[in-house]
């Protein structure tokens, strides 16, 4: 792929924190194409969340160039080119589910009827119909995270940045959310960059898995995932799935990532 049609193009990105000079990222080179689903995986402290924040212009890189949709990351943020989902749902307690989803639309000046119509579509997409008047604390963790995803999708960004969005969920809920996320991704056709420390989650979801190592945070290998779409519960029992899981695990070990959390 050429750098022009890349949604994200990172060239020599490094990030050093503080006066002590902790190197979170070193010489990151990454191109993400239109419609890809990219997972960033690596041990704690490998800078995967920092890289995601550099792409979102929430953290400024110490050096290197980053283009998002062909613009500077800052310009892309100001143009609201991406939606962000965190590990915690980060819903506003004082807003109902519907109003949480509509928040970005409010900030962007959409009128009430357009917001209502869009919220209805999204509630359907994330299968939360009937919960629009609930408050966040009345929902389970999985439902809260679906609200956060709906909010990130509300203004139809071309790029979705997800920082361990299912990390706090139990295994059953996580697998169901993985399927739902893939369904949504195939419906809306946007690009996803997804941070995780679960190897099986990364393999199941992605078109490519980016393996990182810690101290300093570097990209050590990129594993293309050739599992067919649409992926289902059976995909996890496919021998090819196990081969790819093994391949990613070996890549993690080869990068010296012995500190990687046990795969949930």
């Amino acid at each position: 792929m050429s750098a022009n049609d890349a949604v994200v193009s990172a060239r020599g990105i490094s990030k050093t924190f503080g006066k002590a000079g902790v190197t979170a990222l070193q010489d990151i080179e990454l191109d993400v194409g239109q419609g890809e689903f990219i997972s960033l995986i690596g041990p704690s402290g490998c800078g995967k969340s920092t890289l995601l924040r550099v792409i979102g212009d929430l953290v400024e890189p110490s050096s290197g160039d980053i283009l998002v949709n062909g613009k500077t990351a800052r310009r892309a943020r100001l143009d609201r080119d991406y939606g962000m989902v965190f590990q915690a749902a980060v819903l506003y307690d004082w807003r109902t589910v519907a109003k949480n989803i509509a928040l970005p639309l409010e900030l962007m000046g959409f009128d009430r009827s357009m917001r209502a119509a869009r919220v209805r579509e999204l509630m359907h997409l994330v299968e939360l119909e009937g919960f629009d008047k609930h408050y966040p604390w009345q929902l389970s963790g999985g439902m809260q995270q679906r609200v956060a995803i709906a909010r990130a999708l509300s203004f139809s960004p071309a790029l979705l940045l997800m920082d361990e969005p299912f990390g706090a969920l139990d295994e059953m809920t996580r697998e169901r959310m993985n399927l739902e996320l893939l369904r949504i991704w195939s419906e809306i056709g946007s690009t996803v960059i997804f941070v995780t420390h679960s190897i099986s989650e990364a393999v199941f979801l992605s078109t490519r898995v980016v393996v990182m190592s810690a101290r300093p945070g570097r990209i050590t290998s990129i594993v293309p995932i050739d599992l067919p779409h649409p992926r289902t519960f059976e995909t996890r029992e496919d021998p090819r799935f196990f081969e790819l899981v093994t391949e990613v695990r070996e890549a993690l070990h080869a990068s010296g990532a012995d500190a990687v959390e046990p795969d949930a």
Binding site: R53, G56, L58, R77, L78, D79, R80, Y82, G83, M84, F86, A88, V90, Y92, D93, W94, R95, T96, L103, P104, L107, M108, Y135, W137
Partner: protein, 270 residues
């Protein structure tokens, strides 16, 4: 749904009555002890007159006491509004310009430890003994610090991801305050307002003690005691207490209305 919800509501209603029973019983026992046990123990009238005498004194002096109560309540409410609004605005300024906050906060905390009622004679000198402003300022100063400190905490204790989210929407600071920081601060603000409502009443009554319009409640308490009219003094204290409780209740009610989204209120626990 409704067939299930109905008995549940009834049960909750009955449960609510049951939870109030012990408190009401204690209230009744307290009043009875005041009326009959204290005289039986030989407690002197000047220490604590029996309840019926206090109620009689209230009835005989009801127009003076209620007028005095209204005057003192206005002082308290004026001080509450003044102190709380200045504190809220200052908290916004200090949260927005953090270096200013770090420069001023040590002095704010030190000032908070100052016994503010000690200034009552001084505010009389500033504003005139008969002016309500000398009491309003004492009440306002008492309200000021809890509201300032709590509001500041509420404005700044926002989880980092909340702010990152607003940044990802390219939201300007004004929007971050309106949509995130201020709503986030409201539970803290209302806790402080409840404390402030009590402090405002204390400030106004104590302000009265150092002189004021002869009609004010605190002045009536002082003069009744000096004339050995203990029943009247107690009746005035009763009026002050009821006004204080009513003030607190109004603020608590406002909290319930404004924070209807808050889990603690929805679940019916405090």
């Amino acid at each position: 749904m409704s067939t299930v919800a109905q008995p549940l509501v009834e049960r909750r209603g009955a449960q609510r009555v049951r939870t109030w029973v012990p408190a009401l019983a204690v209230f009744g026992i307290g009043l009875a002890a005041w009326q009959w046990l204290l005289p039986a123990l030989g407690i002197e009238r000047y220490l604590l007159p029996p309840l019926s005498d206090v109620l009689q004194a209230f009835w005989d002096n009801r127009s003076e006491l209620l007028r005095g109560g209204w005057i003192t309540f206005k002082e308290a409410a004026g001080g509450f509004v003044l102190g709380c609004s200045v504190a809220f605005v200052l908290a916004l300024v200090l949260a927005r310009w953090r270096p200013l906050g770090s420069a001023l906060m040590p002095y704010m905390i030190a000032a908070n430890a100052v016994p503010i009622v000690a200034f009552a004679p001084i505010t009389n000198a500033w504003f005139g003994t008969l002016s309500p402003w000398s009491k309003i300022v004492i009440a306002a100063l008492l309200c000021f610090f809890p509201v300032l400190v709590n509001t500041l905490r509420g404005l700044t204790s926002v989880r980092p991801e909340s702010l990152e989210l607003m940044r990802s929407y390219a939201a300007p600071q004004r929007v971050v305050y309106r949509r995130v920081r201020i709503p986030n601060s409201l539970p803290f603000v209302f806790s402080a307002l409840k404390i402030a409502s009590v402090l405002a009443m204390i400030g106004a009554v104590v302000g009265d003690y150092f002189g004021g319009s002869t009609e004010a409640l605190g002045v009536q308490i002082v003069s009744a005691v000096s004339l050995a009219q203990y029943e009247t003094a107690w009746a005035a204290i009763l009026v002050a207490s009821l006004l204080g409780i009513a003030f607190y209740a109004v603020v608590a009610l406002a909290e319930r209305l404004v924070l209807s989204w808050h889990p603690s209120i929805r679940a019916g626990v405090e």
